[in-house]
Symmetry: C2
């Protein structure tokens, strides 16, 4: 590995390329403890942007941030049997405080339904206390045994988890779909990653949910990535935690609940979907640094005037709320700097050299296409704003085209197996609805049902596996 | 306890008053697990304000947020002997992942020096890689055995921890003091809590630091509260983790380091210092809700017009970035609402009744003094802005007067003991500098040295304990 720049091509060794881009761009690093990662400044700043976007959305609709304890007594986790069974193999256990063994061992939260809902039961008395709509940003632990993949599979990660309780089933259903829509907006209009949305099959749903809705993206290696989930919990947890309210009818009722979340794996998706052989390519809306300015001093060619002009332009853009870095370090060459900022995925680069200065112009380069143009200096802000829009759109359109290309309607199981093994992608097939066919396909090919899309498209073929009458159209894929 | 309002007076049962205000105002609740708390929306929103203030300060000076793993292998903690000894009694240990015992048990971070600095050693090669200035917002666990006190002593809490590495001792020293100054600004100019600043004695410093600087506030019960610390770590950790760099002189050097933090206990201080018999009193700069508008409808008196006017005023204030709640709930009376929003400490209340409407005026009440005035409707924004300033200043000045009253110069140990036992406060005394006198005072009275103030005030008396020649003036107090 050279000190700067990526040593492998994305198309040649996708997995190695992915890790190298992340580590070299300063997004993350392996931690000196197995299965864990360090989220470095360049990725954490993206996470902060995601937090800002989600906070704004959910706070506008009455959700409030809170913080619940990280430790969950074993007895709580056990209360909802399906939930317990789903999470127990991956739980990290605290057994000692100081020198003393604990009376009851404590799970480090793999998710917070149980500890939160035990408390909801205490908070909720009447319909006036509802809805409860809360969210928390926190760390989560799942003791993975497979190899670590930065952002996608680590023993600890960051997420937000929203939890709501409602008086009616309809209201809960509405919440599930509202969140799904906002997640889609985040992914498509900010991260520039198109997604398929729909409902999970019963075998793939959240342990303890009535049903799970999900958003799935396609990675360049043909594997799907689950980007977020929004669960309708029905009254499953309300029953076991006895979360009751007195209704306007003065009778006792159990609440209806939802939970939903997205994690730091979104950052992994950003890297995979948009990155190229030079490194990261970040959509302007979530790029921590949106513009880098590199002065190009020549000996004897007014270095002070160039430096002053670079500062002036930086200040002007900053005053318009654009995030700018002026890279005037003397110890690196302009070429080295170009490589470094390209590696970091900065959407727009501005160069100012002696000729630019003389002609009152600047040179401006976009990261996504590499295109370079000279513009009049006074047009800088207008052109930069326009470029942001173009880059944001271009990244989404490219990703959308790649997704469309990766969606294949398949009617024959032999063909299905061949495509899954050779190129991957989303396979759109007719399915009879039986868990048996689903399991056999999974065992034979590794592909699972990623979503059962919303809508009323009629299956015009029989079940891809058993050949019986199909009930619906679903999307299969191998996944991360 | 009545459903709304505080059942005890602050002056009569301070401890019970504190808990009741926190629980009833919706700031926090006891968790269904021993020693832990739930931070609810009304307090978490204050924490988010504190995050915003600190992030702005430190990011402007080149610090960047990151996230390191929560689990620290036992071997790492052990490397710096003094550090290990200081933290080991309070560590929660993860010993199992799923069903399997771990090879090496993992501490849930009591602080992150060791795991971070093991990584610094890998990141730092040359002077060009310095300084490193990072910060993280995260949860921290210390397995307290004493009774829980909401926000002040819980087994899990939230904090920020800044960590820096520099080429020179001078630069590290400068960083320590810079952060101390910014913390002071946060506490005095945002939280409206005056603090004493200075250096800790050796027996009270952070385990592993060269020296610790601290900010100490005085609570109404005469006990001091440590509000934040900024440590100069010297080269202690650099030595054990072998954090070296090649200098501009092309020789090997060890880095100089600092670490610093504030925690969610700041919220406890806010409650204690400003609260009154009606509940919380929040400084406008950190109040999650700055203004509440309560329409006062009378039967037959244009309820629609009043509601419309209330909405109009709310929208106008929101457009000026003021955080407003319009409480138009039909199921509660205005009086009940007044009590609730006073309990929650909202700085300004606006009332609009039929007479106000007719005279194109509003009634405006300030939470800190209870003062109520009628103003012309068109002056609303100007008056509200002015009130925010007045309330912010008034809270600080009141707290400052209370602090001043609680600082007592004492020259006689009998008097010292009497004051500590009867009324508390900061006791300003001459001290010979020996740890022996310090320990004896602590054992005999429970008071410790909170800070050794900066500056050159000469001790004009002999050591309060041993009567030998004094080296300096220090502040003793009992503390939380």
């Amino acid at each position: 590995m050279s000190d700067i720049g990526v040593s492998v091509k994305k198309s040649e060794d996708f997995s190695e390329w992915y890790t190298e881009v992340i580590v070299k761009s300063g997004m993350a690093d392996y931690a000196p403890i197995k299965g864990c990662m360090i989220i470095r400044e360049h990725a954490y700043a993206i996470w902060e942007k995601i937090q800002e976007i989600i906070n704004k959305k959910i706070q506008a609709t009455g959700h409030r941030n809170v913080y619940f304890p990280m430790f969950i007594p074993e007895g709580f986790l056990k209360k909802e049997a399906e939930h317990f069974e789903g999470f127990i193999p991956e739980v990290a256990w605290v057994t000692h405080g100081g020198d003393s063994p604990l009376e009851e061992k404590l799970a480090v939260r793999p998710t917070s339904e149980t500890i939160m809902y035990a408390t909801f039961a205490k908070w909720i008395r009447s319909w006036r206390d509802l809805p409860i709509k809360i969210n928390q940003w926190c760390n989560i632990v799942r003791w993975e045994t497979k190899a670590t993949k930065l952002f996608l599979r680590t023993r600890e990660f960051l997420w937000q988890e929203g939890h709501t309780a409602h008086t009616t089933s309809e209201e809960a259903e509405k919440e599930v779909l509202y969140i799904l829509g906002e997640y889609r907006d985040l992914m498509e209009n900010y991260l520039a990653i198109p997604v398929l949305v729909g409902v999970k099959s019963d075998s793939e749903k959240f342990a303890g949910a009535l049903y799970t809705t999900a958003l799935e993206a396609m990675m360049p290696d043909g594997k799907a990535l689950q980007m977020g989930t929004s669960h309708n919990l029905g009254q499953n947890f309300a029953k076991v935690f006895d979360i009751k309210f007195i209704g306007e009818d003065e009778k006792d009722h159990q609440v209806w609940q939802t939970s939903w979340g997205v994690t730091t794996r979104l950052i992994g998706a950003l890297v995979m979907v948009h990155g190229d052989d030079k490194g990261l390519v970040l959509p302007p809306k979530v790029a921590p640094i949106q513009v880098v300015i590199v002065p190009i001093p020549y000996k004897g060619a007014e270095p002070d005037a160039i430096a002053a002009k670079a500062k002036e332009i930086a200040a002007k853009l900053q005053a318009r709320d654009i995030s700018v870095v002026l890279d005037d370090r003397a110890e690196y060459t302009p070429g080295w700097k170009f490589n470094q900022w390209e590696l970091k995925g900065v959407p727009v680069r501005i160069e100012i050299g002696p000729r630019d200065l003389k002609q009152q112009q600047i040179t401006i380069a976009r990261r996504d296409t590499g295109q370079k143009i000279a513009i009049k200096e006074e047009e800088t802000f207008v052109v930069v704003e326009k470029l942001f829009e173009d880059i944001q759109n271009n990244l989404f359109e490219k990703a959308k085209a790649a997704l469309t290309e990766r969606i294949l309607s398949v009617k024959n199981y032999e063909e299905f197996k061949k495509i899954v093994a050779e190129k991957g992608g989303f396979l759109k097939v007719a399915w009879c609805g039986s868990a048996d066919c689903e399991t056999k396909i999974k065992n034979e090919t590794g592909a699972t049902i990623r979503v059962r899309p919303f809508g009323t498209e009629e299956p015009h073929a029989n079940c891809i596996y058993c050949g019986q009458k199909a009930k619906e159209i679903v999307f299969f894929a191998r996944s991360y």
